[in-house]
Amino acid sequence: MDKNSQEQFTGTIKFTPPLYKQRYCFIKDLVGKYKPKKVADLGCADCTLLWMLKSCSCIEVLAGLDTCASVMKEKMHRLSPLPGDYLQPDDRSLTVTLYHGSVAHKDPCMLGFDLVTCIELIEHLEELELKKFPEVVFGFMAPTIVVISTPNSEFNPLLPGVMLFRHPDHKFEWNRAQFQSWALETARRYDYSVEFTGVGHPPSGMENVGFCTQIGVFFRKYPQTSESAQSEKSTEVVYKMVFKAVYPSLKDEKYLQSAVVSEVIFTAQMMKRRLLDRLMSEHEEYNDDPPERKSKFQPSVNCFSEDLGKLVVEKSLEPFVQENVVYVPLRTIFSFPKVNRLCGTFEKLCKLIAGKVTLSSDGSAVMLDAEHENE
């Protein structure tokens, strides 16, 4: 590459989407492929990657670690659940935790992860920290997959204005050979395999410099350590927790119960309304409002039967009125897809609504006041 062609590129190198987004997308794709449940981001900075990952439906535990608490704190609130998360709790559980600490130290909170990401982290480590890093991440944390990304110094001449390093805080920037030998040695020592890739394609004609960001994806070769092996590792707690958010989830009895109670009462109310409307119209002699009447009939063919799906309601399972009380059989409510999906079994339904919904003496039907709503 001669000097001229190099200058020709300096002004034009521009990544779309921006390189940092490409790195995050790389992780997101990896998550999509391997479906890890527990993911930790070491050097999470302003938590952007964590924020992107929280919507991945496979993840149940997300953790972030950084040496700078104030950077994490600036935007950590975007990791909190949104009102929508409370309004419709998710099926999965999700806990997001942020720790203040260094990758040079071991802490039991980082055990048992499926995926650990270190995006543009290692080049910020001092020599001593870098030395301890493999033992902490590969030896101690020992997750199934580790992803490490770092600048490829061979690309630097193509970047405008980069004299020594891309960032003043970088302690070193490796070329591909340096990174790969470090990675291979680390993988060998801790029984991992490693694959190399990267993001940020070089301009055509310059392919020989490699990706702008080089990435190593490490896979643990030995199976999941048993619980006992992990407890042996237990060390002192050194990280300081700075943030924790537990997302509302239907796995949590509290949210499941309120969702089920809500759905049961709503369904029962709807069936009551249906029943009363039908009875009213049967008794009605005056035909004063033909259009409205017609519209009220509509649900009987649509909503009602559709919600029931193909299910045939036996006569005995239909709601009925007795002494100003409407009885809606629980079995019928259970047959509604939403209720069914939430509870799974009829027994579970009964257990969840016990004490929260007024039931008939034998517990087989929901009781509702028959007074018409308009009165």
Partner: protein, 799 residues
Amino acid sequence: KTIGLQISAGFQELSLADRGGRRRDFHDLGVNTRQAIEHVQESKTGSSGTVIKLTANYFRLTSRPQWALYQYHVGYSPEMEARRLRSALLFQHVELIGKTHAFDGSILFLPKKLGNKVTEVFSRTRNGEDVKITITLTNELPPTSPTCLQFYNIIFRRLLKMLNLQQIGRNYYNPSDPINMPSHRLMVWPGFTSSILQYEENIMLCTDVSYKVLRSDTVLDFMYSLYYQVEEQRFRDVCAKELIGLIVLTKYNNRTYRIDDIDWDANPQCTFRKADGSEISYVDYYKNQYNQEITDLNQPVLVSQSKRRRGNLMPGPVVLIPELCFLTGLTEKMRNDFNMMKDLSVHTRLPPEQRQCEIRRIIDYIQKDDNVQKELRDWGLSFDSNLLSFKGRVVQGEKIFQAGSMFDYNAQFGDWSKEVRGAPLICAKPLDNWLLIYTRRNYDAANTLLQNLFKVTPAMGIRINKATMIEVDDRTEAYLRVLQQNITPDTNIAVCVLSSSRKDKYDAIKKYLCTDCPIPSQCVLARTLSKPQTAMAVSTKIALQMNCKMGGELWSVEIPLKQVMIVGIDCYHDTLAGKQSIAGFVASLNQTMTRWFSRCAVQSRGQELVDGLKVCLQTALREWFKWNKYLPSRIIVYRDGVGDGQLNTLVNYEVPQFLDCLKSIGKDYSPRLTVIVVKKRVNARFFAQCGGTLKNPPPGTVVDAEVTRPEWYDFFIVSQAVKSGCVAPTHYNVIYDTSKLKPDHVQRLTYKLCHMYYNWSGLIRVPAPCQYAHKLAFLVGQSIHKEPNLVLSDKLYYL
């Protein structure tokens, strides 16, 4: 990587750099109306009444002595565009600036003063470019400066976020302990309203409990359930009617939008152009951006006309996907659902003592959270731990006059329904010739009404003949035909007994009798007449109402002020049909304020309301002249229906137009004008200290100190009594006044007028003319949709 982008989210939203006309200032800051009113320069407080000890929902904000906020301008050379980059570069010098700061990209606020007036530092970009940053002190702001007030609010929002409260709209809510109302599919989140402002003596945080009604179903769920309830061809109309105007909360980023339209021709597969110019479908966009799957690809989309700038986006229509939006708040239908509102009020209507506890909670949260305390300490700010205590006055109750009698009412309940029962009215209008229209099914109800009217009217002094009883089919056309055939020039009033609260029938009758065939009318629901135990009370009320509608007068209070015309104005905004606004305008016609002239101004979108109001005022003066043979020497306008942030427009536009209008009446005519803005929806709450507990302050409580604003001539009056919950005071802001009336007299007059609403034998929240104007605007906006016939204009036909 270690350099954080230390820019607060709150600051981004409330950027100080481009404050201008675009964002609405909800607190009407900077509208200084008191300075132009000479006689209240020294004092704006009244004096009459007895002192009452009050507690209010305000906490003082204190700063350490000699506190100041230092405002710097930050410049970059070479110029840096991106705000993120600008802050990243600046905060490479955190040791200089300190950890406590607020920065929006060009303005930097610090709690401390830097060593030099101008500081130059160098930072290096990731590209290795050296950038010179010049930090120049531009302002030392005292605690009371307007910028500081804004700044306090920004910091306070930061604190609420730190407390894990969720922002919805303007307020913050606690999602962890919701109240569930499964039978209505509602969830209620407790939360707080908060604002920090300069009040009379102190800068204070005004905070009140607020409840957010959320719904666990999405707009799409709602559309589906509606679809099953109505016929296909009516579905879209019904959908629009139910949904337009509602506020939705997006699932993915917690923003609220108002639904302005539904686009039935679009669906989630439609594409739009992103900021970078590329086309993307909504499905893909939400998938990529928020990991949200849109499952129903045939749903229509919602359109919100955003008035606010959101980030870099210019205001324009925002497209929303029904499946990804939750409904918030109550629909009109829900508000009319008595059972639901009752269930809701159990949770949200707190008695004074309990409400005070809930309000205190926010200060508890603030004081118990270490991070929040640290942030406040770093800025040198703190909040009083106690609610504000101060003194108000309770002005004496009024004597109610009727024909030949006078009485006091129960001051605590502010109600005289017992006293007026069976007493002769000031002016009774005879029922010589009137119609009673009913369906066959409601014959009994109609007959009961008739019999009861015969029983109750003689004591009131109302002469009554037997009505012309007419049976009709229960169809709108049948009612209209009967009215058309039977109304003669001598008909006093038409009474219709209706079998259901269906709006279309009512609307059609009202429209016909207010425009084409103008006579007073009274509609009664058969059901309200059907309960024997209340039939007499109901009939009494109906008799009184009918009498008012025909131009009768019920009672009066003493009004010492002479030659004064009182005007009441309120607005109704019709969000559905044609998006027009209606201003109701009423003006007193006599000294005792028992007769009112009314007109209304129908204003379509984009038109200024005030043009119509000018015409109203002109006709009102003409009418007054007819009645009194002279023009009023004073005019006092009570202007209701003014939204937050609209004060400026009122002061600079509406008031000058009123003055113009008065000038046009005659060369020598220059009456004294007072314009008072009436606000019912205020966050202030007052509690009376009674023994060891807190109670609602009694009717007649006036507050004109401490919690009022120094730049305004304003006061609060608690005029009504409530049976449950906390009473809401009404705020009165005198924005223009050449009357030279003492504040005490204005307060007393205002309170007197709260006695004069004839549809309620008791005290109400606002002066009667405001409530009359409201009733008129509501009737026209809901049912008539055009200006009623002026033949009716001297009667309270709209009650």
